[in-house]
Symmetry: D2
Subunit: 435 residues, 4 copies
């Protein structure tokens, strides 16, 4: 099916709603798509619990991974090819890194990482380097090839230009997810002129720069990103589902530690609970498995586990109020916790403070935690300038972190507190719910 | 949250990529959406195995159900309201029937219905009428209300006009799924001017007719439907996945009947295997459960069950050739079956003839099986004419059934037949695979 | 600005709403776009009088010409390049012919050609071959180059493959105008998957064939074309404006022949009236000039010329009734003409029978007038089959001409016939206007 | 055709690419659309010279006016209707003001207003109040009705809520043109979620406020506006065409004042040249007339008039360099002017400094020139807050004016300066053109 230079005898295409078509010409890419590890991404949603807020957001990480691959393919095949600053030998490692960059994501991975103290990037690396089908396919390209791909994803690869294709403040990953998530949720944000941005990208020594003539398209992209974060990714209903999900995992772990006897024993979770996850087990984890357990656990006798699973499955989520973590408010929170306990509602699981925070764009702050490479413009005179020094709009939002705190709780349980009139009244008052 | 006339105090909206927004003003609708039975539809994909061909087609039946509801809502609130032929009292039953019409669908329901001889419409009826949350919510509208909703869906409701809103050759169901499936797959078919069609719909005695001025929009809709069937719904790669899925279910059932000892006992399937499904069990069935089992069964010792599950999960599907079921070809099929057996590949599971068939539009054929109500035009002079008598294009395709037969088989297994050279050669020849 | 091989030092792009961007890499193309003859197409609307029906349809022939060029560019640069059946030397002649194929169009050219018995194709040829800027630019490519371009447009070029790119039943011209006209009018017809069609086009000896896998996209294209003809191009309101326009030109010509003294002498029309158009004069003709005259003529003393111009400018168009040109109906028409005369309304200008006719697709009918090259499919086995033999839908409409006749008249004038009660009543009766 | 309450017996619709359909239910609106003064707007482009940069931008002011009407119709019929703060009696005056707000625009009106010191708003008022068809139609609604409509447009109407519908920082006018101009040019800016903004608009005493939940949609709208200004409206190629157009009008006026004998006497311009424009003459002015003259003037003997007309018609525009009006640079400009004169190129017409300036959003600055009403949010607690106090992004750009200066000149003429080597060299140096 492939000829000598690793090209398929006939180009394969996948129909894609965002990029129209995903084009595959390399046998290596085709074979990677066919591995069990890559196909597993069909069973992990790109946006976790977001589908409970935006019913259209049911798309998988496989869907997104193909998109990132296609964007990098256009960069290297349509824009960079033939330019002296671009090393054609980096083409295949770039394509593979783009395709595989999310390989290690588990089901609902943000919650998972938080509860089980793990890191999806670590699993991405392991899937690429250890004994997997992906590793076998990558090795057909050379013994060191898997290591190179893993390094690009880990941002430790020597050629920073290649790294920046999928990890920078304007990379293929972000360009795909903003558009794709906007498409599936149906929101009108998330659109920007990617075709223009691609056309004005230029490889330079350690990075990819943007020709000045494309600055407004980049501004638009940054604004899209900002809007998507606050309108979609941090949507309070999504956060509420996330809070419940996290609490389910906590509860199951706690019960396991307390030697609770499950009707549906959490065999898939044992290694996670114990903190020693072997790769083979990890690869069995996907959202079907999680939802299978949640459904089973809905019938456990532990009332908290059962209730939380039921809430998640049937979208009976927590309500929320804005919460400003000042001293005064934190005192109020303590008081609320006490009242919850008194009312028989375990505040550990039913009164949750959750924060979202985003930095829409940042210039370079060497030495600081979470260093972010800034976007650079290539000016008409050949000079390189950092974006926020040229764009007033970007300058206006650059480096400004916005944080939002909310307090989540089950309004229905509180309203049902018929026998605990005083506690109920006080809780409602503290949560400012009386109207 | 609702005032006296059953309206929510504030309209709720869901962002929808196809209809922009889904508007909910009635408390009854809001409560139905919140039932576990309706939320379960999030775990059943609208297009079954299609996501293995079109990676974008990961949307659920809940997604589609909201869309059908919204279309009927626009019909009754924006177009029919105030017209003398429309009975305003039918509004709520129409909306509920639209929202709930797919409630009984199981996971991958076409295969399920075929293997287990069941009928999703029967389950829809039971979920509405038996002891469920949906039934409880519906009864708040009146004791007989669930029965009325079930009758509309079953097409036995006395007011045929209401029935036709969701069950005719141009109903809200079809109008939603054509557009929605096109949107999620990304294909360029499936588009037609629904807004125009809605504007020219007029309630008449037993049906809804279309003003003549909208005829071309209807032609376009029928052509869209035709294209979607052959380009998406009958796509041979999707059919291949469907074939494998069906064979997995067959195999599990057979093993169960043969008292095979499963590592993962198919407890969720027992009642299906035995043909006596109780509703409570049925409602636990969804695609998470199926995929959970398939993953577990991949490690069963039965080589057929394990292989088929692996193929389905990792998209290692069967290949196909066109097959014309003439006597001569059927002889060839027998010969092939014998050769497969000889080569050690069970033809029962690995050589499958599959047919797709569609009738893009049909006029009225009283007495015939599968009677289909034709589309009627309201001519400028007030006359009612059947569509195909007025539209040359529709006439050209009216009543013409198109059928397609394909033979599916695992090309990789055949190519691996190194020790059975002769059988292999002969199989390849009969399947016309030599090139 | 251009380097040795005729390429611009930097690619130029035009933003285009239909194709996103129009890419220009050849200095020759850039220079042709800059000629006065090409820029003149900005002042000729692509759809003539259609903007009076669909207010969005104000786009010019320059707009469309760039689109046709871009489609051919994609064919030759992205699809054909490197294929053995494609002669790379034909690239530039193909691009030029695409860009210039509409160069000879006059203002509202259908009416013009009809009234003045001229042919825009003849003027296209003359602009390319005679003493113009376009000719000078083309000659930089070779002395014979203009002749080659003209031959491609005239369909007499020896390489029929090249001819078919812009003149066949699925050429770049049609693919652009269907999409572009749909975009500007805003109708939902006119969409088809051009990207797919381009991808499956294959150059063959005397034609371009379509791989079988693209058949459904071609079916969709043909249906789009059909819908656009009847929904947009033959829209009766557009036809009404066309009828009035034609009658204005007739009237002006007649007055000129009768030595009527115009306040605004029709100097720009003299050569048209006399039937001896010199190229220089023709190139001065555009829709600004026409509208300038119509505005001036609104104040002429001739009541017919003044009234018709006023109707056209202020969109006070004729109404219409369906008319079936049977003997009986033709008798009725005669009677109506007599009644119009009696009522003082000149039927020559105010009672107009107009017909529209279209053949959505035709197979090959050698020897017949208006021979049309059929679309050929390239079957998987290498065989070439005519489209209608493979596609049931295309077969159903193939070769079937549809014709529509309408009778146009000024309803307002008839309604104003207060002193001629009997004639008015009879006219209204014959036109079936009483209700 | 209309019944007693002024409604048409059947709703009329226009297909619109931006809003899908324009709905007309009121006979008054239908009649206004049919007036010669409104139809004249078909012959005035919405974006003046922009079509020379973005070939798709050929849409007329009629096109836009229908759009503004439709947005206001949706506001008053779909959002405001029934709300206590909205006075239903203002409905019709709002719709008429929306439809007619641009009525007084002349051809290429920015240049016109500048050269002839006139004001299109003044003409809008006169067309509504003086002896026109529009005035006659409006008076059918009441003797004072035209005055009310004119006052709304002039912002002097007593009900400021009504005024704000078409004149505020988030009015129907802006919402239409941003989307429409984006659609026709094809740029990817200009999109925002208008449907959401409409849904959250609430009439309040003197204004229309936006519910807080729609704040992000408003931010997106403001960013769209910002991008459209710098990417489309101030595009330097468009400005170049504008510069040439202005200079043509200047030259014609000057020649007229110098008693130059035109071959094509500028009769349509006399009253403009003399500064005493009568309405009847003004209404004859449109872009057909302008282009007719420019074509005629291309053959005038005055070399400047002829050259400039030729440049405009054939898009042979001026080039530009950035120019910062510091003292130093102004000295350089003087030097350049001298050099141009020496080289025989009149700097009055061929060396033009042009500035663009925009204020993307402004809060309220009472007493300052060009007072702009800020956008107000309706907070969940009922409080009203000015937008930039709530939105960080809007705050960042609020009140910040951005200005851009460019120097335009004919590069071709300078390059042709073969006999004036020294001047040429010096000019090229001063303009920084050597590379």
């Amino acid at each position: 099916m492939a000829n000598r230079n690793g090209k398929l005898s006939e180009e394969k295409v996948f129909k894609d709603p965002v990029h129209r078509y995903i084009h595959v010409r390399d046998k290596l890419i085709w074979d990677l798509i066919g591995t069990p590890e890559f196909q597993r991404l069909r069973r992990v949603r790109q946006l976790g619990t977001t589908y409970l807020t935006f019913h259209g957001a049911e798309h998988s990480r496989l869907n997104h991974s193909l998109g990132v691959y296609e964007i990098v393919r256009r960069m290297v095949d349509d824009v960079f090819k033939g330019r002296p600053e671009w090393n054609e030998e980096e083409r295949l490692v770039s394509l593979c890194a783009a395709l595989l960059h999310d390989l290690g994501h588990g089901p609902f991975s943000h919650s998972f990482e938080k509860v089980f103290h793990m890191d999806h990037e670590d699993f991405t690396r392991r899937i690429i380097l250890e004994d997997t089908e992906v590793n076998r396919v990558l090795k057909t390209e050379g013994k060191d090839f898997p290591k190179k791909v893993a390094e690009v994803i880990a941002k430790t690869y020597s050629n920073k230009q290649v790294v920046s294709l999928i990890s920078s403040q304007i990379d293929a990953d972000r360009m795909d997810y903003l558009q794709r998530d906007a498409y599936y949720t149906g929101v009108s944000y998330g659109h920007f002129d990617m075709e223009r941005i691609l056309r004005v990208m230029r490889p330079r020594e350690d990075q990819v720069v943007i020709k000045y003539s494309g600055m407004h398209a980049v501004e638009d992209y940054i604004m899209s990103r900002y809007q998507m974060y606050w309108q979609v990714y941090f949507h309070p209903v999504t956060r509420s589902a996330e809070v419940i999900l996290t609490k389910i995992l906590h509860r199951a772990k706690q019960l396991h530690e307390e030697n609770y006897t499950f009707k549906q024993e959490p065999v898939h979770f044992y290694s996670l609970f114990n903190g020693e996850v072997i790769l083979k087990d990890y690869l069995k984890m996907d959202e079907s498995v999680i939802l299978f357990y949640f459904q089973a656990w809905e019938e456990e006798e532990d009332p908290i586990l059962s209730d939380l699973c039921s809430r998640f499955l049937h979208r009976n989520l927590f309500k929320y109020v804005e919460f400003n973590p000042s001293n005064e408010q934190m005192m109020k929170l303590l008081e609320l916790k006490a009242l919850f306990k008194k009312a028989g509602i375990d505040p550990e699981y039913y009164l949750v403070l959750d924060s979202s925070s985003d930095l829409p764009y940042d210039f370079y702050r060497p030495g600081e935690e979470e260093e972010r490479l800034p976007i650079h413009l290539l000016m008409p005179n050949g000079e390189i300038r950092e974006l926020s020094r040229q764009s007033e709009i970007v300058d206006a939002i650059s480096g400004k972190r916005r944080t939002d705190h909310k307090l989540y709780f089950p309004l229905d349980l509180i309203e049902d507190l018929s026998v605990k009139r005083t506690a109920k009244k006080k809780i409602i008052e503290l949560l400012n719910l009386h109207k």
